[in-house]
């Protein structure tokens, strides 16, 4: 099949996919980041955006530049990985955590939670606030991991544009928040700085779901709106990792449009909340 596609901004010939694959392979060989099993449609648009920004005509041109320029690669990396986030995103998901997961977590003397693909930290703060209000924060350890070091730096800082706080407050209230949201940050000069004590039991770390391994046994794993950027092979690899990291009665939370239905792990979990994609590891009677 011969396809000549003119997308919104450029003409794609049959070399386009080859050049993108070479770019991703080059990044893997040089810098160790493996994007070769990311979902192709979105990756293509991200690479197109990088090409436009650098005023380059092909993915090969991008490769030849970043091979010799670590600094440029560091600038490009966030564009390959960063997703959007807000606090208490999908409030009903956090309500479901409060109602279905917290009572189980309370039965453990120590609680380990993994926030995989935490990006710039919005989800980590949401989770920490929730645990604080449920009296669980002091006995919890939250591993917050992401592939992207600059996102992790931003997460550690916990500083966000003040105008995002309106939406965050709305979400917080809808999620069943029990306090007043603005007690969790101080606002100044158009920015909101989150209360640092929320991070006292948070361990930030670089971790790559495509290449790294198991590091803890967790009662709860959150990985929301990360798997949508993976192809089926990488998605299943990430889920293998979660299977190896989850406590026998642990919970897994995915993004609201992600589903275990289309994976090799559909039978390893029971559905706790179908709409909000909250799962619990199925008990095996071996």
């Amino acid at each position: 099949m011969k396809v000549m596609i003119e997308p919104t901004l450029r003409l794609e010939d049959e070399n386009g996919p080859i050049e993108r694959e070479l770019l991703l392979r080059g990044i893997q060989l040089k810098y160790g980041y493996d994007f070769t099993h990311y979902a192709q449609n979105s990756m293509r648009r991200r690479i197109d955006a990088i090409m436009r920004e650098l005023k380059l005509k092909s993915a090969l041109d991008v490769l030849s530049l970043i091979l010799h320029n670590r600094k440029l690669f560091d600038d490009v990396l966030p564009q390959l990985t960063i997703g959007v986030s807000e606090m208490f995103r999908d409030p009903a998901f956090f309500r479901a955590i409060r109602e279905n997961v917290v009572p189980v977590l309370k039965t453990f003397p120590r609680v380990t939670i993994w926030c995989a693909g935490c990006s710039t930290g919005e989800e980590v703060f949401s989770l920490a606030i929730l645990l604080h209000e449920e009296g669980l924060l002091d006995r919890a350890t939250i591993f917050a991991t992401d592939i992207n070091p600059s996102a992790l730096r931003a997460a550690r800082e916990g500083i966000y544009p003040a105008d995002e706080m309106k939406e965050n407050t709305r979400n917080y209230l809808a999620s069943g928040g029990r306090s007043v949201f603005n007690t969790y940050y101080t606002a100044d000069y158009g920015f909101a700085k989150m209360d640092k004590s929320l991070l006292k039991n948070v361990v930030f770390s670089e971790h790559n779901l495509a290449t790294d391994g198991v590091f803890a046994e967790c009662q709860l794993i959150l990985c929301r709106n990360v798997l949508i950027y993976f192809d089926p092979i990488l998605q299943n690899r990430a889920l293998d990792l979660f299977m190896g990291s989850i406590h026998p009665s642990g919970f897994l939370g995915l993004g609201s449009k992600e589903s275990l239905k289309f994976t090799t792990h559909a039978n390893d979990f029971d559905v706790v909340d179908e709409r909000w994609k909250l799962y619990q590891r199925r008990r095996t009677h071996a």
Binding site: M1, V3, M4, I5, E6, P7, T8, A39, Q40, N41, S42, R45, R46, A49, G83, V84, N225, L227, I228, Y229, D231, P232, Q235, G255, K257, E258, S259, K261, F262, T263, R275
Partner: protein
């Protein structure tokens, strides 16, 4: 024979889609994937809005979903919807296109890449220019391109911006579009029976 129908609609599109789906006979069952721009909000009762269809099921798009005959899949608000090359659906939250997420252009373009000449794309009422470029992609890949008659569309901007770009295979009212699709399917099916279809 179109294996897949993709439809894009925006302002004024709900009425058009409802009429369109009503006009399609029940035996017409290629999967239909729809981007209808809607505000972010609570989940909608799709059967209530678009009308119940025996023999079909309405689904909200989920990542890595595979299509089956009779499926009518609606893009989820706030996520782009695309086909991957092996035919499954993928969602993303990349930047909006023409201020829209989901974007009709992204769905159409991805369908052109994944299905080539086996896709039919329909662009309906809307107040933006989303979809015109995507429709052109479908055209270039050999797929069937269809635009709602701007005179019928509540909001003619979207159909008009496609027509300003190129001449699609068919322009008509939503009922005529339904007829056209069914006929195309019948013609190709007969070809298939006669062995003329590759």
């Amino acid at each position: 024979m179109p294996e897949v129908i993709v439809v894009g609609a925006s302002a004024g599109g709900v009425v058009a889609l409802r009429e369109f789906l009503k006009a399609l006979p029940l035996y017409f069952r290629p999967p239909i994937v729809i981007v209808q721009h809607l505000p972010k909000g609570p989940r909608l009762d799709l059967e209530l809005i678009y009308g119940r269809r025996l023999n079909s099921r309405y689904l909200e798009a989920e990542d890595k979903m595979r299509l089956r005959e009779g499926d009518i899949v609606m893009a989820a608000p706030d996520y782009h919807l695309a086909f991957e090359k092996d035919g499954h659906l993928s969602l993303s939250q990349d930047a909006p296109v023409y201020f829209s997420r989901p974007s009709i252009d992204i769905l159409f373009e991805s369908a052109a890449i994944a299905f080539g000449s086996s896709v039919a794309a329909v662009l309906m009422s809307g107040a933006s220019q989303d979809g015109a470029n995507g429709l052109l992609c479908v055209h270039r890949a050999g797929g069937l391109t269809i635009v709602q008659d701007p005179h019928e569309a509540q909001n003619p901007t979207m159909p008009k911006s496609a027509l300003a770009l190129f001449q699609p295979d068919f322009v008509g009212t939503v009922c005529e579009i339904a007829d056209f699709l069914v006929q195309r399917r019948d013609i190709r099916s007969r070809d298939f029976v006669a062995g003329a279809h590759p």
